[in-house]
């Protein structure tokens, strides 16, 4: 039961006619309403004719749908000239019967009105043009020109109503352009008759920076993006980026990318940053952010990865020269086409324009790494919240494509809680380069403040720029606090001296023991000798005594004999 219901719903859904204009098909969820008329209105120079012509040309080239362009303002030659600059060869398309250009000229001074009339002549002409090439798309630019040619507005309005119904009956998808009126969408209010789809084009100037914007004011029978979408007009025509349509749908890669500094990779649990993550490098002026970014780029290019560098402060040659001084050669990667550089001052365009521009470049170049140097400069083109919004969109966009992003932020003071723009919570990794001032000199320290998803070192390292690259040294944490630079050397020397002293002390003590030992040995020998001497003496005496006793005995016996002992 439910499936059949769903199918019938799908079948009745409004058919769309794709415009082929980048971004517009996304915003309208498929294109303009098929077989109906859409109104495109805006002030002079907004891009209405361009949009309409692109709709037609794309129809002919991409969707095999021939189209009729009925122009009330420019003749065929002028149109061909104007669109040649976009690479559109109208004459060729006309020759191939893919486009029919019809210039309708109304000169009020030539015409007098006498009696009832209708606009069948226009209908017949349009019909003829459509049938000549089998057109499926029609553009009327701008039909309000009829109002300046013919004075009977009653007839005109009635005929316009009839015209749009006529177009619908023929099943062609049409665009009608109209100039913006005061308080109304079009000067003569034709939006009453053309109300299936209304697109507004605007050209806003805020703080001297102009942005073009498009808005779908109305789209009967279909969901559509309702916001204002900035667009730009470049050598390929109109380009809209519906960038608010990003969700948090990015995947999380487990692959890693090196930072270019071996010890930093070690601090990041041994392997470096996650691919597709966002890294914020913040620091005050001159702390070496660009150098660190260049290290990462160097390492990546070495592995054949492509990098895109957006600079808002320095020129390409300046950065290349500066990096040469620390032993990083970026020129070779330019030559190999792995590194592309785009430098522009932020106040050149509005923020949306920068964003749209960057999108285009990323889509064209397809890099694996993108660097923005520095993001803090963008506040020249908008306020903090606008910049944050723009950077959020950029981050989302890059994450969805698994591109690693390096954002460099110039902070005015040593910030470790959050950056000026407040973007530190959005990025996955935050490296802060800070100045440490001790003993009359300043050295740089690298603080790895956060790195989501991996164990990382919490140790502060001294960040040194040498002529063979970046080195990270252990920072001295002694009783006097953190020491870097020459203070560290001094401390290290002191420690060395102390150690030497201790060693000598030990040596001295050892000799002392040696001496005592020898002394003991000598004393023992001495005692032994004395003992031996006395022993000998005593033995002699014993022998003498024994001899005396024996002699005594002998004497007594002898005496006894002599005395003839009359016993």
């Amino acid at each position: 039961m439910t499936t059949t219901f769903h199918n019938s719903r799908a079948a009745q859904a409004l058919r769309k006619c794709p415009t082929g204009i980048q971004g517009l098909d996304e915003v309208t969820f498929g294109g303009l309403p098929h077989g109906r008329t859409a109104l495109v209105c805006g002030a002079a120079g907004c891009g209405k004719t361009l949009l309409a012509m692109q709709f037609l040309v794309n129809g002919a080239l991409l969707y095999d749908q021939p189209g009729v362009f009925m122009s009330f303002e420019e003749n065929e030659t002028e149109l061909a000239e104007n669109f040649a600059s976009l690479g559109i060869d109208l004459n060729e398309l006309v020759a191939q019967n893919k486009i029919n250009l019809d210039y309708v000229h109304l000169d009020k001074s030539e015409i007098a009105e006498a009696g009832e009339y209708d606009l069948d002549g226009l209908f017949i002409r349009l019909d003829y043009a459509i049938q000549a090439i089998g057109a499926k798309r029609v553009v009327l630019d701008t039909i309000e020109a009829l109002f300046s040619g013919l004075s009977n507005t009653t007839i005109l309005r009635a005929e316009l109503r009839r015209l749009f119904r006529w177009l619908k009956d023929r099943g062609v998808t049409a665009i009608v352009t109209g100039e913006k009126g005061n308080g109304t969408l079009t000067r003569h209010g034709i939006e009453e008759y053309v109300s299936d789809c209304v697109i507004l084009l605007e050209h806003k100037v805020v703080d001297q920076i102009s942005t073009r914007r498009l808005r779908i004011a109305k789209y009967r029978g279909s969901a559509h993006g309702t916001n204002e979408y900035p667009f730009l007009i470049d050598e390929q025509g109109i380009c809209i980026m519906p960038i608010t349509s990003v969700g948090l749908n990015a995947g999380a890669s487990t692959a890693r990318i090196s930072s270019g500094v071996e010890r930093l990779d070690t601090m990041l649990s041994g392997q470096g940053f996650y691919v597709g993550s966002s890294i914020l490098i913040s620091g005050t002026a001159g702390t070496g952010k660009t150098s660190l970014a260049a290290s990462a780029i160097d390492a990546a290019c070495r592995q054949g990865k492509r990098c895109l560098y957006f600079a808002f402060e320095e020129s390409r040659s300046q950065i290349v020269r500066n990096m040469k001084s620390i032993g990083i050669d970026l020129e070779q990667w330019f030559d190999q086409g792995l590194l592309e550089f785009h430098a522009s001052r932020p106040m050149l365009f509005g923020l949306e324009m920068h964003l749209v521009n960057m999108y285009k470049k990323v889509n064209e170049f397809k890099p694996q790494i993108v660097v923005l140097d520095p993001i803090s400069n963008l506040t020249a083109a908008g306020n903090f919240s606008d910049v944050k919004l723009m950077l959020t969109r950029m981050l989302d966009f890059l994450k969805l494509q698994d591109i690693t992003a390096l954002f460099l932020d110039l902070s005015s003071v040593n910030h470790t809680d959050q950056t000026n723009i407040g973007i530190s919570s959005l990025t996955d990794t935050w490296i802060a380069l800070q100045n440490m001032e001790i003993n009359g000199e300043r050295n740089r320290g690298l603080y790895l403040l956060k790195s989501r998803g991996m164990a990382h070192s919490n140790q502060i390292r001294e960040f040194v720029l040498t002529d063979h690259g970046i080195e990270l040294l252990d920072v001295y944490t002694g009783p006097e606090g953190v020491l870097t630079g020459s203070a560290r050397y001094a401390q290290e020397e002191k420690e060395n001296a102390k150690r030497l002293l201790h060693e000598q002390e030990i040596e001295r003590k050892r000799r002392e023991i040696e001496r005592k030992h020898q002394q003991m040995v000598a004393t023992i020998a001495d005692l032994k000798a004395t003992f031996e001497a006395e022993k000998e003496e005593l033995e002699k005496i014993i022998t003498l005594e024994n001899a005396y006793l024996k002699a005594q005995d002998n004497n007594r016996i002898h005496l006894a004999r002599l005395r003839k002992a009359d016993s």
């Binding site: 030539e110 006498a114 069948d120």
Partner: protein, 105 residues
């Protein structure tokens, strides 16, 4: 002012034949009416010095491009020059005469 126009008209009228093209789209009431009105005016005020050509755009649509015909019916005066277009069923005779610069008989 009027005199000079009269003079001009007289001059024109004496020298040239009127070459008129009436553009129609089939036999709609307006077109039939326009033709009838035109015939009447020409008979009355041009006394034979005229040439009417009827062009039916439903049969030959491309012919409308040259003269930039949008409204039907349209009357185009090719001769005498300058080119003049009058749109409508020509029921307003006075307007037609003024538009074609014809001195009424």
């Amino acid at each position: 002012m009027k005199e000079s126009i009269e003079q001009d008209s007289e001059e024109i009228r004496d020298d040239q034949t009127y070459l008129l093209k009436l553009y129609v789209a089939g036999q709609t009431p307006k077109c039939v009416k326009a033709f009838a009105n035109l015939r009447a005016i020409c008979e009355t005020h041009l006394s034979g010095k005229y040439n009417i050509e009827i062009i039916d755009l439903t049969k030959n649509p491309q012919l409308g491009r040259a003269d930039q015909i949008l409204a039907i019916p349209t009357l185009v005066r090719h001769l005498p020059s300058p080119l003049v277009k009058i749109i409508g069923d020509l029921s307003n005779t006075e307007r037609v005469l003024v538009g074609l610069s014809i001195q009424p008989n």
